[in-house]
Symmetry: C2
Subunit: 312 residues, 2 copies
Amino acid sequence: MTDLPMVVPAEGLPARVRIHEVGARDGLQNEKTVVPTEVKAEFVHRLAAAGLTTVEATSFVHPKWVPQLADAEALFPMLGDLDGVALPVLVPNERGLDRALALGATRIAVFASATESFAKANLNRTVDESLAMFEPVVARAKADGAHVRGYLSMCFGDPWEGAVPVAQVVRVAKALMELGCDELSLGDTIGVATPAHVGALLTGLNDRSIATDAIGVHFHDTYGQALANTFAALQHGVSTVDASAGGLGGCPYAKSATGNLATEDLVWMLQGLGVDTGVDLGQLTATSVWMAEQLGRPSPSRTVRALSHQES
Amino acid sequence: MTDLPMVVPAEGLPARVRIHEVGARDGLQNEKTVVPTEVKAEFVHRLAAAGLTTVEATSFVHPKWVPQLADAEALFPMLGDLDGVALPVLVPNERGLDRALALGATRIAVFASATESFAKANLNRTVDESLAMFEPVVARAKADGAHVRGYLSMCFGDPWEGAVPVAQVVRVAKALMELGCDELSLGDTIGVATPAHVGALLTGLNDRSIATDAIGVHFHDTYGQALANTFAALQHGVSTVDASAGGLGGCPYAKSATGNLATEDLVWMLQGLGVDTGVDLGQLTATSVWMAEQLGRPSPSRTVRALSHQES
């Protein structure tokens, strides 16, 4: 039975990819079901045990906005100190930063928008006003010794504005780096990007001296493009890829499936390409099958479905 | 509302891709529901109207083996002469060829295996015995002026044998070309391939003087790899890609989802890459939504789901 791909290394790809696992935060935040805190803690522990070295744990956003993650204060201390595993948390503003730092978080993330429409819808601010809001957050986090990731959403298309010009994304990306972000995550929030568009944005960032090492990619599979786009990003030297275990956050039966790239589908490709991830695909798949049971619905990851069905 | 990707042409890709649409044959043959003949005819007509120039219509296999396509004799004459649209049909042997040619088919396809295990399971022959069986089929089709496609299945992995060596696939591919096939379709029947594996096989075929122009790729999305593999094939110069409208033939709820690459997901990527297909994505999506209604279940194509949900 074939349950791992044949390894055929590709020339010119990174030897190792760091997967930034977002299932426990971006995934669960977009699921209807509110998961008990102990289940979340077990989820994070199982993801780490499967070999993921960066597991975004939760968000210190106001519970009114994201009730699914209202238990951040209770959850974070339950995670403990996982040896060699980074546990970043999202913070929307200084108040969120205070809560995260008080609990000992050493990696934080802010969430910016490349478009005015989404900045307005999500943050009720212009892009520049939101950057001004993030300035003290990033500065204080850095002063505290924390590592800061800047999420940049709507990097390719926007539901109100359509296609987003590369120059516009580069401008906001550059501003986030100048605020002090250690890395960026380029989000295709509505999943419309195609491979050469990805290449054009990465080239645009390089042209403004943003090192590829500081760039992660965050694709959504809304139109089925996430893995092809990831392959294109790898060909441009990107070695940090966001993904969500089991494809959490993208219910295949929901009308507005946001469709995070499933970590398992990514790992299958990277294993085949001979790119090291440190992840045990079987253990990760078992974790996603378990999590799907908690949520009461099958995983949208094709790899999870294929591997779990093999056994039944 | 973004309903088409931003066009960012990639360097080094073919200017035009011919999509070999397999939904009416490979798709419906793998669906549990038996579709009425008139519905199949309308499906083929709608696919052609959406701009697909090659629409594989049916299979002249014995009804005992594929009851879903038992109406080939009734269906084929209903299709008529669609201007500029090729309507290939699958024939398993000389008896099938006779039936197809008697009805005026001008493009036929044979279905070979790269592995002994699948040749035995599917054809009850060794690989060489199956090639011997195809020899008079191809010769007589060519003598009749027909165009011949050779499907080659299990080109990357096999459920019994695991990973399939490139040299083994190249040997059978070369033999099919020497029988007189005009083109090959390289099938990843169980969906395990990854992009560099695709490149290695294409390089292997080139090394044996099989022109890239004569090669089509046929990926299954079992592990979510189909579109990334397609992108890799395009980068190697391949300009014929098999796909199934709406992802027909790969039910997301079935245990053994074969998962044909959905034509809509392919068209989305090609449109974004500035590669001409001649296909109207909206019209194609509407066709797949209509076909999903006939089958009584949603399309597994992510693009079909995203585009059809936008309107509701």
